[in-house]
Each structure stands twice: as structure tokens, then as C-alpha cells.
């Protein structure tokens, strides 16, 4: 498993760089660490060309309160969707889906949260470090899209806010 992770990581870096310079590449061809998560859980990544009936609509609410509507494929993680759609959330997914940070922290409505399935200890350990943690918080790299999540709303919470960086430097 470790070998596969490393190989994917190298490929991911190269392709991600090209996607920033060129136009967005088809979602299915970008392997990422977080896609590995969904694969391990038994969700197959769609390798078919983009077909409207095989997509899942996701609404993100960004830190300015704006709603951004995008589509992902079943088996994509929410981090994959953010990367593939080039959504500009500062610092999102710093560790590239390896459960080594909490920057892909997302907040859901109660009803959606219940559908997202159980949280592993490993995810919870990192989620516990997230600023503004709520009872309906999850890490985006661990949430795999399914058709039943069609139309879900995910809110990007405030990162460490100005209030905490007050003039006396205490944090």
C-alpha cells in the first residue's frame, strides 16, 4: 500500500502542475492521494467520458458566503472536486489527502452529515485540530461522492481568523 501511495504521489505532482498551466484535464485522469481513499473504500472512479447522468452536483459555500456549484464523479473525494474544479480556497488540502493536516475541513448540514458514514480514528485525530470544529464537520479528503449525495452543500469554514491574531500576538 505504501508503494502505491508513493507512486501516485509522484504522478499527482506532475499532472497537477500541468493542470495549472494548461486547461483543466478530465477529472478521471488525475490520480490523487484522496482518490486513493475512495478507491480503497470500494468506490470506483469513473473512467468514462463526461456524461451528465454520471455526475454529482456539489454546492460549496466559500469563506465569503458565496455559493459555488460544481460537479464531480462518484468515487471522487470532495478534495478531488476542489482540485479538479480549481476552486480557490486558500490553503485547502495542503497535505494532498494523506490525513496529515486539517485544511480540507468542511461543515455540512445535519441531514447530509448523517449520510456521510462513519469517521475513522485517523480522520478524527486530524479533524480535532481544525479551527471552528462543529458536530457536523468532516475532512473533505475522506468524503467520497455517491449519487445519493446529489445536491449536497459543503461549507468552507473560516480559517484562523483575524480575531485570534490580535495585536498582542497571543494565539
Amino acid at each position: 500500500m505504501c508503494h502505491l501511495k508513493n507512486k501516485e504521489k509522484l504522478v499527482h505532482v506532475t499532472l497537477r502542475e500541468s493542470s495549472r498551466r494548461a486547461a483543466v484535464i478530465s477529472a478521471a485522469s488525475l490520480p490523487t492521494q484522496s482518490r486513493a481513499t475512495c478507491l480503497q473504500r470500494g468506490f470506483t472512479t469513473s473512467t468514462q467520458p463526461l456524461r451528465s447522468d454520471n455526475k454529482v452536483t456539489v454546492h460549496f459555500i466559500n469563506r465569503d458566503g458565496e455559493k459555488i456549484t460544481v460537479k464531480g464523479s462518484p468515487g471522487d473525494s470532495l478534495l478531488d472536486v476542489v482540485i479538479d474544479q480549481d476552486l480557490d480556497f486558500d490553503g485547502f488540502g495542503a497535505c494532498e489527502g494523506t490525513l496529515a493536516c486539517s485544511t480540507c475541513h468542511l461543515i455540512f448540514e445535519e441531514e447530509v452529515y448523517k449520510q456521510l458514514g462513519p469517521v475513522t480514528d485517523e480522520e478524527m485525530d486530524m479533524l480535532d485540530l481544525a479551527y471552528g470544529l462543529t458536530d457536523t464537520s468532516r475532512l473533505g479528503c475522506q468524503i467520497c461522492l455517491t449519487k445519493s449525495l446529489e445536491g449536497m452543500v459543503a461549507r468552507v469554514p473560516e480559517s484562523v481568523s483575524d480575531i485570534r491574531q490580535s495585536g498582542d500576538g497571543s494565539s
Partner: protein, 446 residues
């Protein structure tokens, strides 16, 4: 100024901003390269994001430039509309006890720098021939040190730990590591992931003092989830009857680790020949108050713990680089309001220099974004005067040339990077780091 965090990303979203990064070492990334433990490679993935930023057409990296000696902050202020101080915390808090300078006592910052290949620490050569090591402090850095001291060689040899460190650790006779804190289990500063790694570390068993956990099972019921889960893990590890599998692991383990609570260092005691540390004298504390704000009060009792290695992990500390810039020496930060340096127009700060040396990469990254936003706000409002043109690096590189300083550009770092990866392949490691500035410059210039 050094390449700490991603505050650049905000700048480069705007077409009118160019960012130059000045870094003392020939290599970028600071603590992500020299602080993050070798067995935490995923934490270093953020380097990919930094690399993308550095490769942006409006971003330039100038390594091997020491701001303060090669070029002054004043000269940077003349060449640029804004200067962001992001050079972190290269000093450490001292324990301030007798015996602190004996052989066998090291700052965690230096020990970590040593196994991570920081050029200034390559000659540390710690003595690992004793049986017991005592670490003062219970933050994640303390746990990293404990884990590196106790990890099996076959785990460490696949990481980017330096070969000299690996060779020394292979000969280590340390079998017991105590991680000591002033306060109690509910004030411990480390995070749960790192504690779990200790609990699961092969060939080791935990050894704690049950009395340290008196009253904790009750108190833990009322606290927020992160603290609750961490405390419950500590309780389980310290007090619960282990499963059969865990019991078997413990009985076969050749190495021991444990937290010790309510203890503060008061003296490092020397060996009979006075040449090195042989024990540490700890004051016994009691807790006043509860929760995160509880304080440690000495009881008057002391306890001596024999040990040959003492690692003090009680905090990094920022240092002033220019006497003309304001510096709060009590808090060891540059006084600022939301990243704007007080009383100094056009100068900002970000990272640990701004808030003090705590927090993980995510925290510090967000702190830098806040500084970038403040700077952009000031540009737009006119608080930062960008009306006249400034020469940027064209005002600095001639000065450096005159002074015989040759900057290392990002593409030169990439040569160093490739060389390290190449050497790593030969050793079965992700990279074999170059350990001296001379060697780095040599590769950068080829």
C-alpha cells in the same frame, strides 16, 4: 525573510504584484524541511504547493542571502514597496538551570536539526550511550524526539533522516525515554496523532505513573472533544488492563517510554568527573486551577532521575535581525497588529515571528494568508504607498554582487533537490540530504 508559508499565493492572484523571497540557506522551505520529522513525509506534501508558488513567473527565490548581514532591512525597504518578515524562530528557550550547558544536554531544536540535516547542527554528535533519556516538554516536538530515539532501525532507514544520524542511532544504547511536563495529563501540549504513534511504536511499551491520573477520568467528561479524546487515550494507555495482544507486545518490548507529569527541571547534575550530565533534578509540582489555564506550583519536593541525555523541548524562540526594527523581547515576537509591524510603515510579519512558535503548518499558513490580506488591503486603501516605482531585486542584486554574495535561484535549488533524490535512491530513501552549505553551493553552481 525566508520562504515559510504560502502568503505568496494571495499576492500572485493579482496581476500587479511581484514577490521576491530572500532566504539565508541555499535551500528553501524552512521547518518543513528541517523541523518535520523524517517519518512524517505526508506532512511535507505542502512543499508541492510552495514549489508551484515559487515557480510562478512573478515570484523569485534568492537563497544564500543573509538579511541582516548581506543586505539590510533598510536596503530592502528602499528597494521594495513592502517587506514581509517571515524568518521564524531560530533560537530556543533555555531552561535557565545550572548544568544546562553540560555535555549530554541539548535543545530539541538542535537535536531535531541534527537528524534533519540542518547545516548548523551537523556536528552535534549526541552521546547515545546511556540507558535513559529525559525530554523536558510534552509538545509534538518532544514526541518527535522520543519517537526518533525509540523507532526500530528498519522503519527509520526508509526515511529522509540523515545517514550520520541513522548510523549513530543504530549504535544507540538508549532503552528508556521519559517525556516530562510541568503540569498534568489534561494540559499536555502534544496532539493525539503523535501519542497514538508512541502507543503503537513497535518493540516498545508504555510506563506511566498511575497517581498522575488521579481525578482525570472524572474531569475528562466535561471538556471539548479534542481534549477529551486525547485524555482518554492517555488514560487507556496508563491505566487500562491491556488486551492479550498488547500484553504480549509489552512483555517482549526492549524499549520503554512514558510521560511524567507535575515535574519541572531545577538542575542538571553532573557525573563525578563533572564532564557530562548524569541525572536531572526535578521539582515536584501541584496543579492550581484546571483546564488549559491551570498553573504549576512547586511543592518544595524534588526528585532526581538518573539519565545521560537531556533534551530540552520547551519552545523555539524568535531573534531580532535588525536593531532598527521593533522587537518584543519578552514575547520574542515582532510587535504587530494583524501582521502590520507596529510603528514601521511598509513592513509586515507572518508565521511564528508574528504570533510566537506554536501551531501546526495549517495554523501558520492561515496566519500568513491573514498578513497577505492586510498587505493587499493597505495597497488598495493607500495605507501602503505604491505610487512610485521601486527597483525590487534590481536594487538589491548589485549590492549583493559588490559584497561577493551570489544568490541561489529556485532552479539552482532544483539541482540540489535532484542530487539529494538521486543519492537517496542509492540508499533506499526518499532523499539523502546535503549536509553543508558548501556542498549545497557546489551542486547549485554546477
Amino acid at each position: 525573510m525566508s520562504f515559510g508559508k504560502k502568503d505568496n499565493r494571495e499576492h500572485t492572484g493579482r496581476q500587479d504584484v511581484e514577490v521576491d523571497i530572500y532566504e539565508r540557506l541555499p535551500v528553501p522551505f524552512g521547518l518543513v524541511r528541517f523541523g518535520v520529522a523524517p517519518d512524517h513525509p505526508e506532512v511535507k506534501n505542502v512543499i508541492n504547493t510552495f514549489t508551484q508558488t515559487a515557480q510562478h513567473s512573478r515570484c523569485s527565490f534568492y537563497g544564500n542571502v543573509n538579511v541582516g548581514t548581506d543586505v539590510s532591512v533598510k536596503e530592502l525597504q528602499q528597494a521594495y514597496h513592502a517587506v514581509v518578515l517571515s524568518y521564524g524562530a531560530e533560537g530556543n528557550r533555555r531552561m535557565g538551570v545550572p548544568g544546562e550547558d553540560l555535555a549530554g544536554v541539548h535543545a530539541a531544536k538542535d537535536f531535531v536539526g541534527w537528524y534533519n540535516g540542518l547545516p548548523d547542527n551537523r556536528k552535534l554528535h549526541p552521546d547515545l550511550s546511556c540507558e535513559t533519556a529525559v525530554i523536558l516538554g510534552q509538545g509534538n516536538v518532544a514526541l518527535d524526539v522520543a519517537r526518533i530515539l525509540l523507532s526500530p532501525m528498519d522503519m527509520l532507514k526508509k526515511t529522509d533522516i540523515t545517514q550520520p544520524a541513522l548510523d549513530l542511532l543504530a549504535e544507540s544504547r538508549i532503552r528508556r525515554v521519559l517525556i516530562v511536563g510541568r503540569r498534568g495529563p489534561m494540559q499536555i501540549a502534544c496532539t493525539i496523532k503523535e501519542v497514538r504513534e508512541m502507543v503503537n511504536l513497535p518493540d516498545t511499551r508504555p510506563e506511566m505513573v498511575a497517581a498522575d491520573f488521579k481525578g482525570i477520568a472524572e474531569a475528562v467528561k466535561e471538556v471539548p472533544r479534542p481534549r477529551k479524546r486525547l485524555t482518554e487515550l492517555l488514560l487507556k494507555t496508563a491505566l487500562d488492563v491491556p488486551t492479550e495482544k498488547e500484553q504480549e507486545k509489552r512483555s517482549k518490548a526492549s524499549r520503554v517510554w512514558g510521560f511524567r507529569f507535575f515535574r519541572s527541571p531545577v538542575e542538571v547534575l553532573p557525573a563525578p568527573d563533572l564532564s557530562r550530565a548524569a541525572a536531572i533534578r526535578l521539582a515536584v509540582n501541584r496543579l492550581e486551577g484546571s483546564g488549559e489555564g491551570a498553573s504549576a506550583v512547586p511543592t518544595g519536593e524534588v526528585e532526581d532521575v538518573p539519565c545521560g541525555l537531556v533534551i530540552s523541548s520547551i519552545g523555539y524562540k524568535s531573534l531580532p535581525i535588525d536593531p532598527l526594527l521593533p522587537f518584543d523581547s519578552r514575547k520574542a515576537i515582532v510587535p504587530n497588529t494583524m501582521g502590520r509591524v507596529q510603528k514601521t510603515a511598509g513592513v509586515y510579519c507572518s508565521g511564528w515571528l508574528k504570533t510566537g512558535p506554536t501551531g501546526v503548518i495549517g495554523t501558520t499558513m492561515n496566519n500568513s494568508f491573514d498578513t497577505a490580506r492586510a498587505l493587499l488591503e493597505d495597497m488598495d486603501s493607500g495605507a501602503l504607498d505604491v505610487s512610485s516605482a521601486k527597483p525590487g531585486s534590481q536594487g538589491v542584486t548589485p549590492l549583493l554582487e559588490k559584497r561577493g554574495v551570489k544568490p541561489v535561484e529556485f532552479s539552482d535549488w532544483e539541482k540540489i533537490d535532484n542530487e539529494e533524490i538521486k543519492r537517496g535512491v542509492a540508499m533506499g530513501k526518499p532523499r539523502e540530504k546535503l549536509l553543508s552549505v558548501d556542498e549545497m553551493l557546489h551542486v547549485a553552481r554546477t
